[in-house]
């Protein structure tokens, strides 16, 4: 573990792991509460086109991904809000188009698809220090949005009608969730890859809610699981020379299974306040 820190790229990657371990489950808690667990997947596919565009024009793939995935997220949100029935197919088209566009543009830029795997499943060594500063800025923005708008986003995801009848700017907040999710996808994309990025938004939340009773506690526990999975997965990826994305996701899945078992045990033993609740309720 200590010798890993001798490598500069590993130190950069570990900082990145902490950032994405914090941000992805934080925004993921709202996404799961709103029952939009596949939103991150959609954005991930669309973001690939942005990456391809950045590579082809030799500009920053990160900036390309931020712009295109934010636009894609807005498109997904508009489709979702507009149509209850036809939106499904429209979303699917957006996913396929994003993935195909990304693969074509990346292949055109590099001549072969070798760089592509790094974007699809992540790569430890691919993150430069310059990238890291951009990602740090994005992560701070995401966490600030969660803190400042958290109460409003909670009510929006809990009960959209009551949110509207409380005067909340429902359309703006819905777009804010989508765009924040897009930024989170870009934060995590280098290390975990675009195909698995939404797993880090969803799996830690699913694991946390086995053990918690409230929204805030679910978010905090999910963030802890996210950091743990991202760091451990990254180290595992280095030790065993496997792509970091699948390694991180497998670790999060293991935590999920442990949490399910732990939750069952906890309920079987019965917490003191659970028993009291049964008497009065």
């Amino acid at each position: 573990m200590i010798e890993i820190l001798q490598f500069d790229f590993m130190r950069v990657a570990l900082v990145l792991a902490v950032l994405m371990g914090l941000t992805a489950p934080a925004i993921g808690t709202f996404i799961v509460q709103r029952r939009l667990a596949l939103l991150g997947d959609g954005i991930g596919h669309v973001a690939l086109t942005g990456v391809g565009f950045g590579l082809l024009t030799s500009t920053s793939p990160i900036l390309g991904a931020v712009v295109v995935s934010a636009l894609g997220a807005v498109a997904i949100e508009v489709l979702r809000a507009r149509s209850r029935t036809g939106g499904d197919v429209a979303l699917a088209l957006l996913f396929y188009g994003g993935l195909s566009g990304g693969v074509i543009l990346t292949s055109l830029s590099s001549g072969n698809g070798s760089g592509l795997q790094a974007y699809l499943f992540g790569s430890i060594a691919s993150v430069s220090r310059g990238d890291l500063y951009v990602v740090m800025g994005l992560a701070i923005a995401v966490l600030a949005i969660v803190v400042v708008f958290g109460r409003e986003l909670f009510l929006l995801c809990q009960d959209e009608e009551v949110a509207r009848a409380s005067g909340l700017p429902v359309r703006f907040l819905s777009l804010l969730i989508a765009v924040t999710a897009a930024v989170t996808v870009v934060i995590a994309m280098r290390a975990i890859g675009l195909l698995l990025v939404s797993a880090l938004m969803v799996v830690p939340v699913a694991a946390a809610q086995q053990l918690t009773r409230g929204f805030k506690s679910t978010m905090l526990v999910a963030m802890a699981i996210g950091v743990l999975s991202a760091v451990a997965g990254l180290v595992g990826s280095f030790e065993y020379s496997v792509p970091p994305g699948p390694s991180i996701v497998m670790f999060a899945m293991t935590v999920f299974v442990a949490a399910v078992l732990g939750g069952i045990l906890m309920r079987r033993r019965g917490r003191p306040d659970d028993q009291k609740a049964e008497v009065t309720g």
């Binding site: 808690t29 799961v32 509460q33 709103r34 029952r35 667990a37 400042v148 708008f149 109460r151 409003e152 909670f154 009510l155 995801c157 809990q158 009960d159 009608e161 009551v162 949110a163 509207r164 009848a165 409380s166 005067g167 909340l168 939340v205 809610q209 918690t212 009773r213 409230g214 929204f215 805030k216 679910t218 306040d273 009291k276 609740a277 009065t280 309720g281």
Partner: protein, 257 residues
């Protein structure tokens, strides 16, 4: 027009190419306790959602405290209890978290919850007799208890006007009496209530006016229908809390200001 809480003139709502509400003229004055009655599918929920601007109107006009819903800004003055079977969401939330979200129209974005916020949430929880369940996940409560959570969410916002869609559906008679006691206290202070109900039960003595809908039209607007011997009904006396009854003792401490 001046002073009315809700004013709808010539209201028409079309959903899926079908007129769900036709030619609705309705004025709700401050202090009114209005019951919206009618069979399933007659448009009761649609009417109160249109009053709040939650469904678009195909014709006519509706105002909340003198402004159209799009222009209305003073949302802390209205509290809405939607017709729901359960408290929603894909992530657990505690009873307290759900109830506290009713304060949102009174809170500013950059300030954490204040002492006044927490006190109002405590009073709302006590009013629906769920203070001891505050830390439990809302989705693990029974249906009627979840309905009481939604009522408490509206109470926590301390609005001037309550809009409640079947607040008593699935709620046991002791809790209905508790709600009646809470509402009678609130209306005594001049607050306004618009509620949908199939069975008025203990709420019946509070109602000052009833609107009956049938297939999207108002067929009655005026005195509430009086079942014979209403004062002899068991629900009637429950409205006046007496301190020995633990259900209503919680209500006696409810003070919305």
């Amino acid at each position: 027009m001046s002073g009315a809480v809700f004013t709808m003139t010539g209201g028409r709502v079309r959903l899926d190419g079908k007129d769900v509400l036709k030619d609705i003229d309705l004025r709700v004055a401050p202090g009114d306790v209005l019951a919206v009655l009618g069979p399933n599918g007659s448009g009761k929920s649609t009417l109160i959602r249109a009053l709040l601007g939650l469904v678009p109107m195909a014709a006519g006009r509706t105002e909340i405290y003198g402004s159209t819903p799009a222009r209305f800004r003073d949302w802390k003055r209205v509290g809405y209890v939607p017709q729901r079977l359960t408290v929603g969401g894909g992530v657990p939330a505690t009873v307290r978290e759900v109830v506290a979200s009713g304060r949102i129209a009174r809170q500013s974005r950059f300030r954490p919850s204040s002492k006044a916020d927490r006190a109002a949430v405590d009073r709302a929880l006590a009013a629906v007799d769920l203070a001891d369940r505050a830390r439990d996940p809302a989705h693990r409560l029974s249906g009627g208890q979840q309905q009481r959570v939604l009522i408490a969410r509206a109470l926590a916002g301390e609005p001037d006007a309550f809009v409640m869609d079947e607040p008593t559906a699935g709620v046991d008679s002791a809790s209905q009496a508790a709600l009646a006691a809470t509402l009678s206290r609130l209306t005594a202070e001049g607050r306004t209530v618009v509620l949908v109900a199939h069975e008025l039960g203990p709420l019946e003595p509070l109602i000052t006016r009833a609107v009956v809908l049938e297939t999207g039209r108002v067929v009655h607007d005026g005195a509430p229908p009086q079942p014979e011997g209403a004062c002899a009904l068991p629900g009637h006396q429950h409205v006046h809390p007496h301190a020995r009854d633990p259900e209503t003792a919680a209500i006696a401490s409810w003070d919305p200001t």
